[in-house]
Structure formats: structure tokens, C-alpha cells
């Protein structure tokens, strides 16, 4: 992968931060956008804008065609079929949809829903709420000292008769990639439906929903070079057909009378109201860009940068790293802390050098608590990051450490 050529595709990377080049190491929060995505949005609004699936005029037909073409691109990316792709606003909405509808369809009083200790709040709180509504029990699988999922506990909890397991493909804090075909197999043997939060993996590596063995899988467009306000919930067709709607209104119905309504089939059953069609077209352009690079190469680039980062952090005795130490067992991110220093102080000092990292609880408060800290720093990589940027971060950490003594 020619990173310098890639960088030229991202206008924002020309930006200076206090007279210094921007070193953006926060793509796990949101990614930047290549010109092709920005142009796809501008071109849609400038030439093809009309509400989809409604009007009969030519322009509306064109807009609908582009929207559905985007759906097909997402299906192609995941090895799925287009009618299994539900467009939503993002991972959070996707997981709320999954929790609400699976709760209605599959959970009864006394049933068990399983999550893990490494979930983002978006894959935890909706399940807490679903469990509360259905009077079901919520169980959390713990993590090991090394930052992996405790597999024996996972097996034990599931074999006790869980109905649904919601787990992340990769932790947004630890970086841990969960061994998914194995974990989904265990869950299916126990008769549980598997919902996967893939927000940190679909943008960064080849993901085939069938190879993973997932029943539902969620991710956001904005973390994969696409616009905000668009994301995907993929669901196995038979499962989607069984589920009730989440939001109701226009677009998602089959027939409406004054006192009742029947539902359209998936995916439209789950796309009430005017969908984010321009954003979907933008996301389609992002998929084209990523597939143009090749997701296996995107993954290899992440692993290279994370290896350099782990190695550099490991050489600094004032730094504690969280999660697995093997770069190939991790997503393209590393969380760490500087001894005796609050992560917000680290982030503020790095910002003075134009370096953008994330510091905080990363929407994973139970996990941060489990690690015994109040917060952590996180550096995350993507296709436009270079080895030099990793080195810039490492030497800036040395300087921050010196200042804060």
C-alpha cells in the first residue's frame, strides 16, 4: 500500500495544528474521508437528490437506484445478500434495533441474555434495557488478565441456556479481537442468537458474516471513511423476517388502516421514515475506496503500525499498555497510561504537538473499572497513518513525561 499516495486522497491531512502537521491517531473514534467520498456526497446532492422509494419521476428513480446500489456494495463487502442489509444511523442504532426486536421476539421472563465485560456501552446498555423490559437476566462474561475473553466462563454461561449473546468482534479499548468462528459455534450449539458489534473490524479487515457465523452484525459508516449518520445492521434473512419493527411510520409498512398496520419485508421493515440515502451513497463510495486498497492490505498496514507502537510503548517504563501484546491479536489500536499522570493531561500535551489521540473511558466504563483505572489514552491507526507518525507520538510521550515530572 502506498501510504503517501493514500494521504493525498484525504484533504484534511493537509491541515496544520498550531503550525505542526496534524498527526491523527483517533480513527477508532472516527475516520477521515477521501475526496471520492466527499465528491460522492456533493455529486448526489448536486445532481441526483430526491426522496427514495416514493415518487415516480425520473430523478426519484435515479436516487433510489443509487441508494439500492449502495446497499448492494455493502452486501458485497460482507458476503451477504442485499436484502439482509438494513441501513441505520450507526452502530448504536443498529444495536438498539437488534436488542429491541430480539427482545420482543426471543426473550421471555427468566431467559438469559449474555454480554461481555469488554463491550462498548452501545452493546451493553440496549441489552440491559431489553432484559429489563422482558424481565430477562443479563450475564456478563469476564475478561482474563491478558485482556482476552474468558472462554471457559463464556462456555459455561452459554451452555446454561442463554437465548442471545451480544459481543464485540474487537474491543475499542483493549484492541482484543475475539475468536469469532469459535465463539459463534459455541453459542449456536447452545441455541443462542449471536449479535456482533463489528464497529472496529469491518473498517479494518476482511469480514465475511458467514465465516464469522454471526446472526446479526453492526457497524458505522463514519469509522470506515464514510459519512456520519449512516451505518449497517446486517441480519440473517430468516431472522430478520421473524423480527418485529423497531421504529414505525412511513416506508416500513405493507398496508395501513386507521386502527392497524402490517409490515413490509426486510430490510424496509426496519427503515422507517426517510432513510439517510445521501449518506448511504457516500458510504458506498467509501466501500469502493477500501476494496480498491484491499482489506487484507488495510489489515496488514494496521498490524505493522500497531507492532511499532507496541514495541515503542513497551520500551518506555513509564507506560502501561492494556490488552494483548501480540499485534496480530489486536485491532489497529493501543490503549495505555502514563504512570501517575491523568490521560487528559497526556492528550492535552500531545495536542500541542498536533497529535490527536483519545483519552477517557472510551464508552466502556465497566471495562475501565475492571482495569482499575479512571481512564486511558488510546492511539488508533488507519490507512493514512505512517510509521513516522507513530515515532512522532512516541517521542512526544517522552517529552510529556519529562514535563510532568
Amino acid at each position: 500500500m502506498d501510504v503517501q499516495a493514500i494521504r493525498r486522497d484525504f484533504p484534511i491531512l493537509g491541515r496544520q495544528q498550531g503550525g505542526k502537521p496534524l498527526v491523527y491517531l483517533d480513527s477508532a473514534a472516527t475516520s477521515h474521508k477521501p475526496s471520492t467520498v466527499i465528491e460522492a456526497l456533493a455529486s448526489f446532492y448536486g445532481r441526483s437528490n430526491a426522496n427514495v422509494h416514493r415518487a415516480l419521476y425520473e430523478l426519484a428513480g435515479e436516487a433510489t437506484g443509487l441508494y439500492e446500489e449502495a446497499r448492494a456494495k455493502l452486501a458485497g463487502l460482507l458476503g451477504a445478500s442485499a436484502d439482509e442489509i438494513v441501513f441505520v444511523r450507526g452502530t448504536t442504532e443498529a444495536l438498539n434495533l437488534a436488542a429491541y426486536t430480539l427482545g420482543e421476539a426471543r426473550l421471555e421472563a427468566g431467559d438469559t441474555v449474555v454480554v461481555t465485560e469488554m463491550e462498548h456501552h452501545a452493546n451493553l446498555v440496549p441489552w440491559q434495557q431489553a432484559a429489563r423490559r422482558q424481565k430477562a437476566r443479563l450475564e456478563a462474561v469476564p475478561i482474563t488478565e491478558g485482556g482476552g475473553l474468558d472462554i471457559p466462563s463464556y462456555e459455561r454461561v452459554l451452555s446454561a441456556g442463554a437465548k442471545v449473546i451480544a459481543l464485540t468482534h474487537a474491543s475499542n479499548l483493549l484492541g482484543t479481537i475475539n475468536p469469532l468462528p469459535e465463539l459463534t459455534d459455541i453459542a449456536h450449539r447452545a441455541g443462542a442468537v449471536v449479535v456482533v458489534d463489528a464497529a472496529q473490524t469491518v473498517p479494518h479487515m476482511p469480514v465475511s458474516v458467514h465465516e464469522l457465523g454471526a446472526d446479526m452484525l453492526a457497524f458505522s459508516g463514519h469509522k470506515m471513511l464514510g459519512p456520519t449518520g449512516i451505518g449497517v445492521l446486517w441480519g440473517r434473512k430468516e431472522l430478520l423476517e421473524e423480527l418485529p419493527p423497531f421504529m414505525t411510520g412511513g416506508e416500513m409498512i405493507s398496508e395501513v388502516r386507521l386502527d392497524n398496520a402490517t409490515w413490509a419485508g426486510p430490510p424496509r421493515r426496519f427503515e422507517a421514515g426517510t432513510p439517510p440515502f445521501a449518506q448511504a451513497v457516500g458510504l458506498g463510495a467509501a466501500v469502493d475506496y477500501l476494496r480498491g486498497l484491499g482489506l487484507a492490505d488495510v489489515r496488514a498496514h494496521d498490524v505493522q503500525l500497531v507492532e511499532r507502537l507496541l514495541e515503542g510503548l513497551g520500551r518506555r517504563p513509564y507506560i502501561t499498555v492494556y490488552g494483548p501484546l501480540d499485534p496480530s491479536a489486536r485491532a489497529g489500536l493501543v490503549s495505555f497510561n502514563m504512570r501517575g499522570v491523568h490521560p487528559h493531561d497526556v492528550a492535552t500535551l500531545l495536542d500541542q504537538e498536533g497529535i490527536a489521540i483519545r483519552a477517557g473511558h472510551h464508552c466502556a466504563q465497566p471495562l475501565v473499572r475492571r482495569l482499575g483505572v479512571a481512564a486511558a489514552c488510546r492511539a488508533s491507526c488507519y490507512v493514512y497513518n505512517t510509521a513516522d507518525e507513530v515515532d512522532t507520538l512516541l517521542s512526544a510521550l517522552d517529552e510529556a513525561w519529562r514535563i510532568l515530572q
Binding site: V341, H344, D345, Q352, E353, H361, A400, I403, L404
Partner: protein
């Protein structure tokens, strides 16, 4: 890297009035759950004056330095005058604090306002 201003670093390294007061007359805890900053402020009041003050807590350098600075500012002051303390009195004295960090700097002042609100 210019780091933090001298006032912040000095108060962070050598916090003034840090610890707990035995049976304080007023006390408040303010926390910012987003970053885990916590500041506890305890006051001893004698004849309408702050005769002693201590803070305790954990968090970033800015919140802890601001707490230390605030204890110095209010010690010996008439309670009636404390309401006059504005955000700028703290921010101005701390030196440069970026917009993204003003909540950290003001946390101790919020604790003070909370402590003064309490009726005992």
C-alpha cells in the same frame, strides 16, 4: 511542547491544603464522570469566615491544581464574599487552559458553590 503553565505545574506538584478536615462545617464533592476527576472540598467556618479549608481528590493536573489554588484563594475570606468568585478568577490565575479543559479547571469552584448552598 509548551506543556502547562507554571501555576498549574507548581500546584499540581505541591498541592496546598490537601487532605481531610476532621468534622468540617461545610463539605461538597464534585465529579466529572466523563474523565473521572473528583474534588472534595471541606470548609471550617468561624464567625462567618473560612478559617480552614482542605481539598482531596483525584484526576488531571488541571482539576487538582485548580483545587489547590482555590483553597489558597478562599482561606481567611468572609463567607459572604465567596459568592463573588467567578469562573474568570480561577481561569485567569491558572494561566492558559484550552476550551476543552475548562470543565476540569472549574470543578473545584463548582464544589465550593455546592458547599455554600448546603444548609446545616
Amino acid at each position: 511542547m509548551k506543556g502547562y503553565g507554571e501555576v498549574i505545574l507548581e500546584h499540581w506538584r505541591r498541592p496546598r491544603n490537601k487532605g481531610r478536615l476532621p468534622s468540617p462545617d461545610r463539605e461538597a464533592v464534585e465529579a466529572n464522570p466523563l474523565c473521572g476527576d473528583v474534588v472534595r472540598l471541606q470548609l471550617r467556618l468561624t464567625e462567618g469566615r473560612v478559617t480552614d479549608v482542605m481539598f482531596d481528590g483525584q484526576g488531571c493536573a488541571i482539576s487538582q491544581a485548580a483545587a489547590s489554588l482555590l483553597t489558597e484563594k478562599i482561606k481567611g475570606k468572609a463567607v459572604g464574599r465567596l459568592a463573588e468568585l467567578g469562573d474568570q478568577d480561577v481561569l485567569g490565575q491558572l494561566g492558559e487552559v484550552t476550551a476543552t479543559r475548562t470543565n476540569c479547571a472549574l470543578l473545584p469552584l463548582w464544589a465550593l458553590r455546592q458547599a455554600l448552598k448546603e444548609d446545616r
